[in-house]
């Protein structure tokens, strides 16, 4: 049975820290495989109502598979999914709660913007002046009113994404699922789109769950689940995840990373490790170490930097790998 939980930190909503919140999405020991290859294994997390929740991971990390399960396109092989009070065993009930924004817009390019919205409303059994009014309102809110009679195929990628979002919001879904919503958008359109999502969350209380491989997008969400090779490696608010890293992150670029890492560890007692050809160490007050390291190993160091941890550092902390490594071997799981 699902109990309402209290969020400890990282919520945009100030009152959330004190009042119990409804669970919008509960994923429990979820597993999915293509043939023999497990794309997801033992994934468990919960998303609370009204949260903006990011599923962050490199390509092939399993987030698209998770998205497909949450959007009821495929059934889990193992484990359970619950969306509000509906279980994955009753996909038609889950669908009543969902608004789904696909990476490839699910619009009919041969219909106008307005016709796409009406067709979608009919799929949801909606009809009449109330839904027309709602469609008009959404088009105005998203700056699409002037283009409503144009064929969708004539719109830019950013506009199509907004039409798709407007379409999904027609039935007022309490949960919005988005797959890589910023793919194919230029930085300006991406920012606008996220502002829209934030607005939805604050004005309508919509729960927003999206997949992304952009750190800065995950950074803007209330909580992040980091997926790597089909497993959940970290879960929490961006701030709490960064706090887990432990102080600052020190990065040394050098020709001979393994030797330097050994030396740093031996002589200074820092837990240094080699990540993608660089030496990295997580330590508090890193700025104090910089002059000492440069003095001792100056010859070997080509660049030394330190900073507050980013989500990328969180990923490295948990996986020992750079986020973008393995980009080439899409979908490979070892």
């Amino acid at each position: 049975m699902l109990q309402p939980r209290i969020i400890s930190s990282g919520s945009a909503n100030v009152t959330a820290a004190t009042s119990p919140r409804t669970v919008a999405v509960a994923v429990e020991s979820l597993g999915y495989r293509y043939g023999d290859r497990w794309a997801l294994q033992g994934v468990s997390f919960e998303v609370y109502q009204g949260e903006m929740f990011a599923l962050l991971g490199p390509n092939g990390g399993g987030k698209t598979t998770l998205f497909r399960i949450l959007s009821t396109l495929v059934a889990p092989v193992e484990g359970a999914v619950r969306i509000f009070d509906a279980s994955h065993e009753e996909p038609w009930r889950i669908r009543l709660y969902l608004g789904v924004v696909f990476q490839r817009p699910s619009l009919d390019p041969k219909l106008t913007v307005w016709e796409n919205l009406l067709a979608h409303a009919q799929l949801y059994g909606l009809w009449g002046s109330a839904v027309r009014h709602r469609a008009q309102e959404l088009l105005e809110r998203f700056g699409l009113a002037e283009r409503q009679n144009e064929l969708v195929e004539r719109l830019s990628g950013g506009m199509q994404r907004r039409v798709e979002l407007a379409k999904c919001l027609l039935p007022r879904p309490p949960l919005l699922l988005l797959d890589e919503p910023s793919t194919g958008l230029d930085p300006g359109a991406r920012r606008d789109f996220f502002l829209l999502l934030r607005q939805l969350q604050s004005l309508d209380g919509t729960t927003v769950v999206f997949t992304t491989h952009f750190m800065e997008e995950a950074d803007r969400s209330d909580r992040v689940a980091i997926l790597h090779r089909g497993k959940l490696v970290a879960l929490g608010s961006p701030a709490s995840l960064k706090a887990e890293v432990g102080g600052d992150v020190l990065v040394i670029h050098t020709e001979r990373a393994p030797d330097l890492a050994d030396a740093v560890q031996r002589e200074f007692g820092l837990a240094a490790r080699v990540v993608d050809g660089t030496v990295r160490a997580e330590c508090p007050e890193a700025h104090q170490w910089v002059p000492r390291l440069v003095e001792r190993f100056g010859q070997a160091i080509s660049l030394i930097s330190y900073g507050r941890p980013t989500l990328e550092d969180v990923f490295v902390h948990h996986t020992g790998q750079r986020f973008w490594v393995g980009e080439g071997d899409r979908g490979e799981l070892v």
Partner: protein
């Protein structure tokens, strides 16, 4: 109930709008069979000597076959459109909507069948050239038969489309299954004259009964080319069962589809 009827209506309406905006589909489905009819009919007229109904020209014999070909082509076009819907992503949105799979299939089939029947009805304008004089009664009956066949063929096309992810794959199926179904329906050559193995294939071909129903409704009274065909009642019954079976198959395939 509203959750069932409105989606069916929405998908049907979308087919109509798309059709009007893609003129090439009209010409493709209507002109191609017409060209076949004129060229094959003209060329084969001299050598067509069926036993039992000598004196019937090939242009006349082939006319009802052409009408069924129009229905088949329209159904095929609509089916290809479904495969494209899947590629374009539109179908994903339909699949995550809270509607029954049967409503999706029915909306698609009715859309395609409406277009097929409309084009088949346009073909009836050529009836006099095909040696058929249509009175009002037979005309209405013919449209009815065409709509049953259109549903059957669209349902068949969709059952296949739901399992295909490329239009290339669909072309193979069309050539290996759908066109032979039509060749063996008595559209091109009479059932009676066929050699035994072919005859056997024709007798078990459900579209042969559809073809017979259409010939009988077109002529209504006895005509030489109706020689040896099953009765109207049998033909219509088999056609209705055929339509129901393809609808059921398409629904089953839609439910099974894993993304």
């Amino acid at each position: 109930m509203r959750r069932w009827i409105l989606p069916v209506w929405g998908l049907w309406w979308r087919e109509m709008v798309r059709f009007v905006r893609q003129r090439s589909r009209v010409t493709g489905a209507l002109l191609q069979p017409l060209v076949f009819w004129l060229l094959l009919g003209g060329g084969l007229n001299a050598s067509f000597r069926p036993t039992g109904f000598a004196g019937v020209s090939y242009v006349e014999y082939f006319y009802p076959g052409t009408v069924v070909l129009v229905l088949l082509f329209t159904a095929i076009f609509a089916t290809i459109a479904t495969v494209e819907d899947r590629k374009s992503g539109f179908l994903q949105g339909v699949l995550v909507a809270p509607m029954a799979r049967s409503a999706i299939v029915l909306g698609q089939v009715l859309g395609s069948a409406t277009l097929a029947t409309l084009q088949g009805t346009l073909m009836l304008a050529f009836a006099p050239a095909g040696g058929v004089r249509l009175a009002l009664g037979p005309f209405v009956l013919t449209v009815l038969v065409m709509s049953v066949l259109a549903i059957a063929l669209s349902g068949l096309g969709l059952s296949i489309a739901w399992r295909m992810d490329s239009t290339q794959g669909f072309h193979a199926v069309m050539n290996m299954l759908l066109l032979p179904l039509w060749f063996l329906s008595g559209a091109v050559f009479p059932v009676n004259d066929a050699p035994l193995p072919i005859w056997l294939l024709m007798v078990v071909n459900p579209l042969m009964y559809g073809m017979a129903a259409l010939r009988r409704s077109l002529y209504w009274q006895e005509a030489p080319s109706l020689e040896g065909l099953p009765s109207f009642a049998t033909s219509l019954l088999v056609s209705v069962v055929f339509a129901a079976a393809t609808l059921a198959l398409a629904t089953r395939n839609a439910k099974r589809q894993v993304w």
